[in-house]
Symmetry: C2
Subunit: 241 residues, 2 copies
């Protein structure tokens, strides 16, 4: 009982300092769409992803000849050929390549957790695979929702709640923060039909207006891959076990 590890949820990057602990594995979550796109990219053979916070950094990498994905306001930034749509990474043309990516929220959350002992990338796409791996680590886990411009966002919280549910059901984890309890409740209400549950959400409306319904359906369908993207220095690679 007492040696169970904690799994907690932080709803936005700006609250990270209130929830961080030593020796914690941080799961960065940006369901729509940065971390879903990262999972899709690794699933399709990408070798390395370098998340950068600013467009300036992204442009610098582009000038050096890197493949660069850049999203702002839900759209591909002018001058770049990739954004954060998972479908952009599925053609196979980026197999064994390195990709630099900058997005509105997800890459910022990645950098917020820079002091964490370990950082992995979570989404509904790799829910079971990542949960199984987290359970084996025997470390405290913090699910860091990327949110939307530092506001609470429903789909990231629901995904975080899914990780909380999986880890608690293993019998090896417990939770003590209200943020985690709320996330789990919201996940349990949402899991039968994510699209319906999110119909009123701000992000869904935003993406629907951009004709990104297919992206949403894909990102909201759990367990389409077993990849576990993990941080090394300032980039991400696929965890090989």
């Amino acid at each position: 009982m007492e040696n169970r590890k904690k799994v907690e949820v932080c709803h936005t990057p700006s609250l990270y300092d209130q929830y961080k602990k030593k020796n914690q594995v941080v799961v960065v979550i940006d369901v729509l769409r940065a971390t879903s796109a990262m999972c899709a990219a690794f699933h399709n053979g990408v070798k390395k992803i370098i998340p950068v916070a600013t467009l300036e950094e992204a442009k610098g990498y582009k000038d050096e000849g890197y493949i660069v994905a850049a999203e702002r306001k839900g759209q591909i930034v002018e001058g770049f050929s990739l954004g954060n749509s998972p479908f952009g990474f599925m053609s196979g043309e980026y197999k064994d390549k390195t990709i630099v990516i900058t997005t509105t929220n997800g890459t910022r959350a990645f950098h917020t957790a820079r002091d964490a002992e370990q950082v992995v990338i979570g989404s509904l796409l790799n829910l079971d695979a990542l949960s199984d791996w987290l359970i084996k680590q025997e470390k405290d886990v913090l699910c860091l929702a990327s949110g939307w411009k530092d506001k609470f966002c429903l789909e990231d919280t629901i995904c975080a709640g899914a990780f909380v549910d999986k880890l608690i059901n293993s019998g090896k984890f417990t939770t003590e923060e209200d943020s985690s309890i709320a996330a789990k409740y919201l996940y349990l209400s949402a899991r039968e039909n994510y699209m319906a549950f999110l119909k009123a959400s701000s992000h869904r409306k935003r993406l629907k207006a951009l004709n990104l319904n297919e992206d949403m359906k894909y990102c909201l369908t759990p367990n389409q891959t077993n990849v576990i993207p993990i941080r090394r220095d300032n980039y991400l690679i696929l965890l090989e076990e």
Copy 2:
């Protein structure tokens, strides 16, 4: 449709800047127990409440002869005779008096909203009365949950969700933030039995350990009063209509 006002929820004071707007009425909520105690105090005849952020200020007022209530860590601070238990304000001895109060979270939220056009005090105790008044104002409303040391807290979010539900049901309000949608979902799940819903919550465990179950039952029972505490300058008075 388009001239409906917005009712939104901010989960903790540190996110206030992301949610604040001009011409907004801010409802400060600290269910366990500051804003519940304030409602109970006005219901029992208190004339004026001065919320202060620090113990130093509270001590200064005490030295000047004011009646001062001070709570930290769920308990009455040594040297003071009142904390934030609603039952402390029910004897009738404070009728027509001014009370100075400082608490861990609630008074801080009150000061966070210092730039708001209007600030009122909300709790489950005055849910219907305050909702009816808010509906008549025809202004945007922001429910500011006090949280617990800048973390998300379940009971304040549920109470905020109750206000969202009431205001939306009037037909005169709409909501666009995910934080508000989540709060409303949590309220709809909790309203049949708040005590059971909150059994895992951190605050309930904290108060239970302090033998404050009766306080909790009282604070979680909606509509026990019609008082609407409203800010004037740096203090609160009872709104007289």
